[in-house]
């Protein structure tokens, strides 16, 4: 595990943070966020398996809300969906702030 690897992962974490910021700012949609976070998660190299599993677990909440909305052809998310998304984003921010 080199310094370069850690620097690389730090950049991925910053990109994750940026994706969350952009979603909450309304500049990217939920689909974009889910795809982006999953790709960034797949690219990290030095973070622990536990951290990655915890991140994926939160990602799953977003994915579930999104998948059901697509299948049900929803044009807007419900308040329950919003709560789930906000909770997951909060947990994701916590994880991003404390990589291990």
């Amino acid at each position: 595990m080199s310094t370069n690897d850690k620097d690389y992962d730090q950049r991925q974490l910053e990109l994750m943070q940026l994706q969350l910021d952009q979603f909450e700012a309304g500049t990217i949609n939920l689909s974009h966020l889910i795809t982006g976070l999953n790709a960034l998660l797949a690219s990290v190299q030095t973070l622990s398996k536990d951290w990655k599993e915890a991140f994926k677990s939160e990602w799953w909440t977003l994915e579930q809300v999104h998948a059901v909305a697509l299948d049900r052809k929803k044009t807007a998310l419900s308040s329950e969906d919003d709560l789930l998304i906000k909770g997951a984003i909060s947990h994701l921010r916590t994880l991003i702030a404390s990589p291990r």
């Binding site: 689909s31 795809t35 790709a39 677990s57 799953w60 579930q64 998948a67 059901v68 697509l70 789930l84």
Partner: protein, 349 residues
């Protein structure tokens, strides 16, 4: 009456003497007398119960050794031939023509089974000479080959339906051989012999090989389109091309894998796949996108639903299945009855 009895006893005694002397008579016939060639090395006696109790070297000259194999067979000779393949010393090497008996009796039943496996691998490798690069890899063709149940093995007539592969990485799903399209089974052709990409008859063996090697019949196409599009086992061949070409995503469609997902949805997030039914399970277009993105096969989804732990999903009306061995989560929506998404990892409850 007494004379008959006496005559019978004499016959029995003569027969017993003949049986006892037969091993030595057989040795005298089959061995060169006074040969200067060294005797072949003596292997330790096998699982003869009597041999254990009384080693042959120490046996009285007229002892008849009865071999009792672990599987219950009793034998005195090689290859089931009491005339030419008599086993006079337990090594069964005197009869040159009894190669099978020789092997069998020297190795015992376990050796025989091992020989069978070796022969099977020999035959396999001979039959697929083009793939000699994979020598040393064991292909699991047992069971499912005859009556395949997984969607990859859509038909039963193909001889190379490989469900798993054992290589340096251990036992891995046959998807790892997707690049060579080895696990296409009769999905590719079988009775129909149709190119999934063009819907046209494939042609001769050379054409078939080209199609296989080019990936047209690869698992990606099945993963994207589902076996219902390709399984012509029960469908008239004449209708297969139109069905396949109308709905099937080309086999060359890329798929992702665990840890390296591939984004297959369109730019605006609309699924690129349309809802489909695979092996009796309904999938949303997004679920198929996810499966294609992560390289998850419908059989793995089916296994997760059947074998995984199920809980009520976070979104009302959904059920979440998690299967820890493959680390796959499947979400179904009761309102549509479909699998709405699939991916690796476990959702936080």
């Amino acid at each position: 009456m007494g004379a008959h009895l006496q005559s019978g006893m004499r016959r029995l005694w003569f027969l017993a003497v003949l049986l006892c002397l037969w091993p030595f008579a057989a040795q005298a016939i089959t061995r060169t007398p006074f040969s200067l060639a060294p005797e072949p090395p003596q292997k330790p006696p096998l699982s003869s119960r009597l041999e254990r109790a009384m080693p042959r070297q120490e046996s009285p000259p007229l002892l008849v050794v009865v071999r009792v194999w672990p599987d219950g067979r009793i034998g005195l000779f090689c290859g089931g031939d009491p005339i030419d393949h008599f086993d006079s010393d337990g090594r069964c090497i005197e009869s040159g023509a009894s190669a099978v008996g020789n092997f069998y009796y020297n190795g015992g039943p376990a050796g025989y089974v091992l020989n069978g496996i070796g022969n099977a691998l020999n035959s396999y490798n001979s039959a697929v000479g083009a793939y000699t690069a994979y020598l040393g890899t064991l292909y699991n063709e047992a069971g499912a080959m005859v009556s395949p149940s997984t969607y990859v093995n859509g038909l039963s007539s193909f001889g190379n339906n490989i469900s798993t592969v054992y290589n340096d990485s251990g036992l891995v799903p046959a998807i790892s051989y997707g690049a060579t399209s080895w696990n296409v089974g009769a999905v590719w052709s079988g009775a129909a012999n149709i190119n999934l990409a063009t819907g046209q008859p494939v042609g001769n063996g050379v054409d078939q090989a080209e199609d296989i090697l080019s990936g047209i019949a690869g698992t990606a196409g099945v993963a994207a389109g589902g076996v219902s599009l390709f399984n012509w086992a029960t469908a008239p061949a004449a209708t297969a091309p139109a069905t396949a070409t109308a709905d099937a995503t080309p086999a060359s469609t890329p798929i992702g894998q665990s840890g390296s997902p591939l984004n297959v949805s369109t730019a605006d997030g609309v699924p690129s796949n349309t809802p489909s039914t695979v092996s009796g399970i309904d999938y949303s277009g997004h679920a198929l996108d996810q499966m294609q993105s992560d390289g998850i096969m419908p059989s793995a989804v089916q296994n997760t639903i059947n074998q995984g732990q199920s809980v009520v999903g976070k979104v009302a009306g959904t059920t979440v299945y998690y299967e820890p061995v493959n680390n796959i989560t499947v979400v179904t929506d009761a309102s549509s009855g479909r699998v709405v998404t699939v991916s690796y990892g476990q959702i936080r409850q």
